[in-house]
């Protein structure tokens, strides 16, 4: 009985729910970025920077500062991870629509991803 029910369910159900996949991706993104930001912030509070703080206005500068162990650089790495979570959301949504064979929604996600990249590249997009 239950075997038959689960069988028919398996036939009708699509491979995975987009919602569940994205929930996992975002939970991990949030925990990872939160942990890095927290680590950097604890360091910053424990040993306030002496002299002028390092410039952290681009990804290479941030990465260089973080590798030197500069608390500001570490915080910014965490913030970059956090700010990447919406981009990951669009990418993974598109991917799971692809797996589920929802062509129209694959196209829509790809469109959003493209405009997002365009905004990032031109630096003209806004909050």
């Amino acid at each position: 009985m239950s075997h038959a029910a689960s069988n028919s369910g398996a036939v009708r159900r699509k491979p995975l729910d987009v919602e569940d996949l994205l929930a996992v991706v975002l939970r991990w993104g949030v925990f990872l970025s939160g942990a890095v930001i927290l680590a950097g912030f604890v360091l910053l509070m424990a040993a306030p920077a002496t002299g002028a703080p390092a410039a952290v206005t681009s990804v290479p500068l941030i990465w260089a500062a973080a590798r030197r162990g500069d608390p500001n650089g570490i915080i910014m790495v965490g913030l970059l991870l956090l700010m990447a979570t919406p981009i990951a959301r669009v990418a993974f949504a598109g991917l799971s629509f692809l797996i589920r064979g929802e062509r129209r929604h694959v196209l829509i996600s790809a469109g959003v991803f493209l405009v997002l990249l365009l905004g990032l590249a031109t630096g003209r997009g806004h909050a």
Binding site: V18, E19, D20, L22, A23, V24, L26, R27, G29, V30, S33, G34, I37, L38, G40, F41, L44, M45, P53, A55, V56, T57, S58, P71, N72, I75, M76, G78, L79, L82, M83, A84, T85, P86, I87, R89, V90, A93, E102, R104, H105, I108, S109, G111, V112, V115, L116, L118, G119, L120, A121, T122, G123, R124, G125, H126, A127
Partner: protein, 277 residues
């Protein structure tokens, strides 16, 4: 920065995250005035903190709202086409407009919406919604289990073209004024597309992070994301959003509306004030 100031930023950020995740807003409304007026943070850095707050609210609340099926991903992604394209448009034309009168109009619109929201404050679920053909073709209508009502709610999506237009406008305003315009997204879904309140706020919550992400590059290069301020904001908002998103399933839609009204008044008044100044 002293530990005390950091603790204050953290505390206000927790509150901002709770409120933002309940209502589908980025939290800049509460955060920016407190940071600039009370804590003396420069306006550019406060705007950067607001961007971080929007993304933290969106991602921090998302996993719970997704699991509860409050978020309509297909609708959110479809409407994100309009908000991101609008954001680009707004940023491109930003130099050619005086933002003052736009802020006043937008502010008045929100004040008017607060009145409309107040009038339908007791409304729990939309009634008699006719599904728009585009919504049917894209499979945008959906269902979620509402714990506060103890029932599964099936809902349909109406007014797709108009709603898409409202989202484009919300995007343009974001790009033009550098604000999140989450309030306008929620109103568009609630009033025009006639979604249940919780689906409107959760789907807006999903969308605001994506719209905000487009602005990361420019904020970063302009040095508006200042680590010592942004860190307690991000941590506080993430915590607040996790708390707020767990409250959404058990709160009634009418309760969310009652919280939304004063927040709309606050955002609207801020806009008018900034516009006429």
């Amino acid at each position: 920065m002293s530990i005390v100031v950091a603790a204050e930023i953290f505390a206000i950020s927790v509150g901002s995250g709770v409120l933002g995740s309940l209502l589908g807003l980025g939290g800049g409304t509460l955060l920016v005035p407190v940071l600039t007026l009370y804590l003396g943070v420069p306006i550019g850095q406060a705007a950067g903190a607001s961007l971080v707050s929007t993304i933290a609210t969106s991602s921090g609340a998302a996993s719970v709202l997704l699991k509860e099926r409050m978020t309509n991903i297909r609708l959110g992604m479809f409407l994100n086409l309009a908000t991101t394209a609008g954001g680009l448009t707004g940023a491109l034309v930003a130099g050619y407009f005086s933002s003052g009168w736009i802020m006043v109009i937008f502010g008045l619109l929100l004040l008017y919406s607060a009145l409309a929201m107040f009038q339908k404050r007791a409304s729990e679920l939309p009634q008699g919604v006719v599904e728009h053909p585009i919504a049917a073709r894209l499979g945008l209508s959906g269902q979620y289990s509402d714990k506060s009502l103890g029932q599964t709610v099936d809902y349909k999506v109406a007014g797709v073209p108009t709603g898409f237009g409202v989202m484009y406008l919300a995007g343009v305003l974001s790009g033009l004024l550098g604000i999140g315009s989450g309030a306008l997204k929620v109103l568009g879904m609630d009033v025009v597309m006639r979604l249940p309140m919780k689906v409107s706020t959760a789907t807006s919550n999903f969308m605001i992070g994506v719209t905000a992400a487009a602005g990361v590059g420019v904020y970063l290069s302009q040095g508006k994301i200042e680590p010592a301020t942004a860190a307690p904001v991000a941590l506080g908002v993430l915590l607040g959003a996790m708390i707020g998103s767990r409250l959404v399933p058990v709160l009634k839609s009418s309760t969310l509306r009652r919280i939304f009204v004063p927040v709309l008044l606050l955002i609207g008044a801020q806009m008018v004030w900034k516009g006429v100044r």
